[in-house]
Amino acid sequence: MHELEFYSMVDATYLWFPPADDRESIGIDLSNSAYDPDLGQRVYDRVLASTRKAEELGFDGALIFEQHNHPLALFGNALTGAAWLAGETEGIRIAAVGPIANAYLSPVRLAEEIALVDMVSGGRLTVGLPVGIGVQYHAQGVTNPAHARSRYREAVALLHRIWTEDGPFAWEGDHFHIPYVNVWPKPRQQPHPPVFIPAAGSRESLELAAKYGFTYQAILVPRPVLLRNCETFRELCRQSGYEADPKQITAVLEVHVSESDREAQREIEHHELWGVQNVFRFPFHESFPPGHVSMASLRGMMAGGYRSSDPSKLTWKEMIDSGSVIAGSPETVRERLAEVTGEMGAGRVIVTEPWSAPTWLQHKSITLLAEEVMPHFRPKGDGRAVWQREPRAGYRTATEFVARAPRYAGMPVVNTPDGRRLELYGEDGLTTNPMEEAQP
């Protein structure tokens, strides 16, 4: 079987919100009066437990995602969540998908946060840069959806320049004018952490991912459209002068493993249905505020792309047949996963469980996945996760730091008022270099 990296999507959904029948949409004005801090705490506890579980099981990464103004993900800032999870784990990669660049007044602030989390996590950050789902633009107060694509593109271009060019430089754009771009710190991973671009398949998003060598995180759309998007992405990479690495295509799949196919259905069917009936019910006009998609994309969508049919009408059989849900015995999941990711040419997969599934059930499923499925997609005879196989960024011990860190020559001199010249860390100085004393 082909190699796959496995990311476990860690869900931070607050489930105790009114059913879909009582409202038009989630994500704009579903009242936060339904939020109870005890129930909220339960969500964060689950996030931590699932992240630790994923690390213990040998997943390559754990992924959290950012949403705004609704209960589907209690991370208004995925980077803040990633900082927390990095502090609670040792080695697993933490994917923060992701800061909505348009929710930031300036991409400089975003660059600072990404670099900070990457530094303190020991270079374990993967950052997703979504343009943001349409409903969010109603409640953000920062960006106009009609300018969102252009502002987003400019923000990503600036971010990329921050990562690849030393400051200070001036940025004179349509949306941002920053006379002195000069971001401290820089990321631990050089030149920048891996970037996922979650995309339903608009050509604009695929072009952007291809241009910068980012990863196309393939949001679920009808299968034929998805496969066409993957082909388009590879072609766009070729046009940018390189052949896409399979890891640049990441499949997002609902995966549930159990003892048998029948048991898997019994455990998860009702949760899958709850999700499609309650969570994905955005009326068109709220999903796509004006200008959020180009006219070309809109026409494409209406011709059979992104959610042109009502997901709340889906049946179990349809979800299984289309490959949007992969559920069953380890053997079934192995075969189906190989088939679905193989068709896409994907080298990474983000596995999700239905958001309403209890924590114990999610842990049972990912345990079976880790023990019965994942080893088949790892290098032969080596079941280690990517973070175990590849050298971790940065040093681990004080001796390693001293051995590899170049001495900083410019700083340590001071002129005293009475005309002496002292080296800050020299023989005449009163202190030793605090950096040399630092314990990692």
């Binding site: 109603h138 106009n144 959806p145 009609a146 300018h147 796509f288 004006p290 006219m295 026409r299």
Partner: protein, 248 residues
């Protein structure tokens, strides 16, 4: 300039600025209003058959666009009439170019911040719902003034996008309160009887700022008029506009 417009009538120039929707046709309201002067009815950038230019970012762009169009068509001092979103644009033009106006008529105009009287959020509804609210539940009776056939979804998305470019956030121009003090020409404000999009307080506030004694209300023949009063009562609304313009 690449502007779609319709023009008919004789006499002093009247520039009519439309609201969201009701493009790509010669409306009964146009016909009625053209009885009172040389009516020019352009379609805004990004609306109807006028392409969406990449320079459209704010109301200042629209103000300059219409100043340029008026020059190009050699309109001279003109009677400016605007409905809904077009009323907002008209108010901006009046603030920047008061000397270009013979008169100013605002019909159910957007554009002001009136605390406690937030307009209905038209970005959060289907087109069907929008028309239902505009026409107070009688949209079917005026379908010929709105319908775009198979292109309805795309056309309305394109026009809402052009509208959002300038009016998503903020959804008012709080500077109008002061700037409209520059207007010296005769002005009038026309409201519907039961506007389900824009609270009546907006018309009242415009009248107050412009020093207009009373808001004129156009009554409906088959039920109270709504935000789409120029469709519901084309002739009566045109007659009310004409009380200020004169003509005929």
């Amino acid at each position: 300039m690449d502007v779609a417009y319709r023009r008919q009538g004789a006499g002093e120039p009247i520039l009519h600025l439309h609201g969201v929707g009701m493009t790509r046709r010669w409306l009964p309201f146009h016909e009625a209003l053209s009885q009172y002067g040389d009516l020019v009815a352009p379609e805004h950038p990004g609306f109807g058959d006028t392409p969406l230019p990449d320079w459209l970012e704010g109301f200042d762009d629209l103000v300059l666009h219409y100043a340029e169009l008026a020059d190009l068509l050699d309109l001279g001092p003109l009677h400016l009439v605007g409905h809904s979103f077009g009323g907002w644009i008209a108010a901006e033009i009046a603030a920047f170019y008061p000397e270009r106006l013979r008169s100013l008529t605002l019909i159910a105009p957007l554009g002001l911040r009136v605390p406690g009287h937030t307009p209905t959020d038209i970005f959060r509804m289907s087109r069907e719902r929008y028309l239902d609210l505009c026409l107070n539940g009688r949209a079917d009776a005026y379908a010929d003034q709105f319908d775009e056939g198979d292109e309805t979804l795309f056309q309305s998305y394109a026009e809402l996008t052009a509208f959002a470019k300038v009016a998503w956030n903020p959804r008012y121009d709080h500077k109008l309160d002061r700037r409209l003090g520059r207007v010296r020409c005769p002005a009038q404000v026309i409201a519907a009887q039961e506007d389900r999009i824009l609270p009546r307080a907006h018309a009242d506030r415009y009248a107050e700022i412009l020093g207009v004694a009373a808001v004129a209300t156009v009554a409906g023949k088959d039920g109270p008029t709504g935000h789409g009063l120029i469709a519901q009562e084309a002739e009566r609304t045109a007659e009310q506009v004409a009380t200020l313009i004169g003509g005929r």
